[in-house]
Point group: C2
Chain length 488, copies 2
């Protein structure tokens, strides 16, 4: 085992050595469930799903924690006093948890369609308020935070004297101070760079809990520190998330962790790159995001057609997780074509004729090359190029340009099973549901009857079948190896 | 609107009058997620799903809260001291939330297969510890609870002096005292009938939170009081659950509610009856439960075959929710047959020939009768008998024994859509996926070619098609109205 992963904290690729033998703990920042998921969410989920799958393949028992940020900032615009809302009209006022449940259910459905495995634990921020209050207190007690008007702020300047704020993002505090817009200045803070561990709830803030400092709600950065500690321990293996979370979110997590335990928390910090549209970052706050539902049904003005969840997944894994992906219909369409070429090759394996000797080739080399690529910081594009090399062999053997032994055929099959289906997480439901079902058999039967009709020169029947199948949406191809069909 | 529901609290059927115009709040006790769901869980979920669907049909905006009991009682059997577990081997020790996540995901999958709509909010007990501590304190302050050895117990005897303990279950406290086994006596309690609001965690208890009384965890009864208050208010419309929860769970909820606010909490208390096996209650604690997965794959010794989720759902709604259902393969098989008769009739509607006049009949009456049945405490068996009456009309019209106008046909279609699919929650995916797909069209094409072969007396071809389709698993029936097919 020699998996290397790029560690944002040290800025180099490092050999992955787990803290415990055979076990790995991963924490990844999950969705904020107050809106629909977009392509950027899919990218992060798929990047770390690939890591999760590969670690399990390597034989590790993985505890994969991906949180749900459900502590929202909904305000009640009702004029009623708070008590009145509580007592008289609870059912009529907005309930943040109802909004959360709605978007969380949608997120789960979409992750399922993308074949993203459920993490081992999906803790909710709202389920860890006590722990967040306790950690706020602990940071206060250690002198790295202060109370101001019912809120608790982390004292970045003081922290920076002992530790180094900016070590993850590679910035220094004075540059950071310059880059923060003056409009963000809050009177409550000693320094504009300070961040909240606990925020006082304003009159209209709906989600609120009692704390030693009055009613309020926890800060976002403390969420992840709290839940990673609770489920993985003070020191754990891998912390992941999108690159946009490096600063301030993960920088602040590291600051909190160092004050609490003297350790950054995770040993390896991994970040997937962004998805851009015309070179601009895609995101809700930029007003240019394409939701996954848009992609699945083609209903966004920037989309020329709809794309299946598996096309989206392939579009994402065909780039390395640390490269920028620029959204384009052209690339999505080519992903669709490439994926269907690979699936076709995989489905053709069982049609191959077994030979007693083979043309000189080494399929084991392809497998080794693909494993090396996975070991090299999850280099999925190289894995895919190996699959294309394998597809080429299959296609050549199909037209009997090369010979394959039964062992070769088994190796090719194993290669697709392991890399395309298991590690890259592609599902081929269409094939299983249709080609292998009685209905697939019925199409074969129709083509057989058409062949028989042709043989007895009953052109009316053979053309009738062909015409009707095309009308139903099937594509019929006469090839050297017989007739092939596909549902378009 | 004149929905009557049976209120366990008053022991009669009562007209349902919501507290707010147009809105309904429902709280139902959900699963404990430390094991697989069995038929009993399906019954409760489906009973209240039917209520949820009917209330929405009646035009109410429903906030349906179904909790998840995830505060478990796992013990750590490790010899390490607690601190060692926390610091050194967190990843190696059992994590209750990992167990919870596993079973919760399975529960959601199964609910989805049973076509149970997700509730509006699915709050977790572990997400409401602060609120449970606050309510324990409040009951303490009001004098109806006492602290003993780090635990807080509700003082049933004192409560019973002012209120009446046993009002929901119809028992009185002295009978209850006699029925409680002496082995249950706990030294900590003043009275064996007292119940815990907060329990001190023993050394090995894994799930534990800090409280004013030391580390511990909340009592089960307080969970539901806390979450129903938080999401629905102090007084809300309907509280539901299985009959086995009437005592002690709901009795204790009512006691807590009365002390806290002077009101029982819910206005209507609804309870679904149990599923028995050979007359004995099915349940984990009785060692005789059949999990839903067993039913779906037929892998339990008591099962003669597997049953689809829709057969299970139909098996449940074909009895009134307040009747006992005794499990039997015979009844499951007859449910399967009955459901397929209804689905077949529903699919035959579009084959009906429109006549300009109709045989005297009143389909509107069937609809009214079915609505009256739903209004009568969700009398789903009567709804199903109306659907069978409608199926009879369809079958008679199909063989032209009776005449139906286009309006009649529309009414029949509406009847099936509303009652079978929308309110009873039956899905007909098989039909949609197969009959309406290009593959369904291909089967029709094969049968058409077989017919043409027959007409030109080409028996070889016609028999070949029939034989091959049967081999693939299709059933072919020659009827007066042409050839029909079904995938067995």
């Amino acid at each position: 085992m020699s998996l290397f992963i790029y560690n944002t904290l040290t800025k180099k690729k490092e050999l992955f050595i787990p803290l415990l033998l055979k076990r790995v703990g991963i924490y990844v920042c999950g969705p904020t469930v107050y809106g629909d998921s977009h392509l950027g969410h899919a990218r992060s989920a798929i990047a770390f799903d690939t890591l999760f799958r590969y670690l399990m393949y390597l034989g590790y028992k993985v505890r994969y924690v991906r949180n749900v940020t459900d502590v929202g900032h909904l305000m009640n615009d009702s004029d009623l006093e708070k008590d009145k809302i509580v007592e008289k009209a609870r059912l009529e006022s907005i309930e943040p948890m109802e909004v959360v449940q709605y978007y969380l259910n949608r997120y789960h459905e979409i992750m399922n369609e993308l074949n993203v495995l459920p993490p081992s634990i999906e803790p909710h921020a709202s389920g860890h308020i006590i722990e967040q209050i306790l950690l706020s207190k602990e940071i206060l007690d250690k002198g790295y935070a202060y109370e101001s008007n019912g809120s608790i702020y982390f004292d970045v300047e003081k922290y920076n004297k002992k530790y180094s704020y900016g070590k993850l993002s590679g910035q220094n505090i004075s540059d950071l101070l310059k880059s923060i817009q003056k409009s963000n200045v809050q009177k409550e803070k000693r320094n504009i760079i300070d961040f909240a561990l606990w925020k006082k709830a304003s009159q209209n803030h709906i989600m609120r809990w009692k704390s030693p400092w009055g009613e309020g709600f926890p800060g976002w950065h403390l969420e992840c520190t709290t839940m990673s500690k609770k489920y993985l321990g003070d020191i754990f293996d891998i912390h992941g998330g999108g690159m946009d979370l490096i600063f301030p979110h993960h920088e602040c997590e590291i600051a909190q962790n160092l004050v609490l335990t003297g350790h950054e928390g995770a040993k390896y910090w991994m970040h997937n790159n962004m998805i851009t549209i015309n070179g601009k970052k895609m995101g809700k706050s930029f007003g240019n995001f394409i939701s996954l539902e848009h992609l699945f049904n083609g209903s966004h003005p920037l989309l020329t057609k709809s794309y299946t969840p598996m096309t989206i997944r392939f579009f994402i894994v065909r780039s390395h997780y640390r490269s920028v992906i620029d959204f384009s219909n052209r690339d999505l369409e080519s992903s669709e074509k490439e994926l269907s070429r690979l699936l076709e090759a995989s489905n053709n394996i069982k049609k191959l004729k077994v030979k007693t000797e083979n043309s000189k080739m080494n399929i084991e080399n392809l497998r080794n090359k693909a494993i090396e690529a996975m070991d090299d910081d999850l280099n999925t594009p190289v894995v895919i190029s190996c699959l294309f090399d394998a597809a080429k062999l299959i296609n050549l053997a199909l037209i009997e340009q090369i010979k394959l032994t039964s062992e070769n055929i088994q190796q090719l099959n194993d290669l697709f099973q392991l890399f395309l289906f298991n590690l890259l997480g592609i599902k081929d439901d269409f094939y299983k549901k249709n080609f292998l079902s009685p209905f697939g058999g019925a199409i074969d039967l129709l083509l057989q009857i058409r062949m028989q009709a042709k043989q007895r020169k009953d052109w009316i029947t053979s053309d009738f079948i062909r015409y009707k199948l095309i009308e139903l949406g099937f594509e019929i191809r006469d090839t050297k190896n017989g007739v092939e069909w596909e549902l378009k």
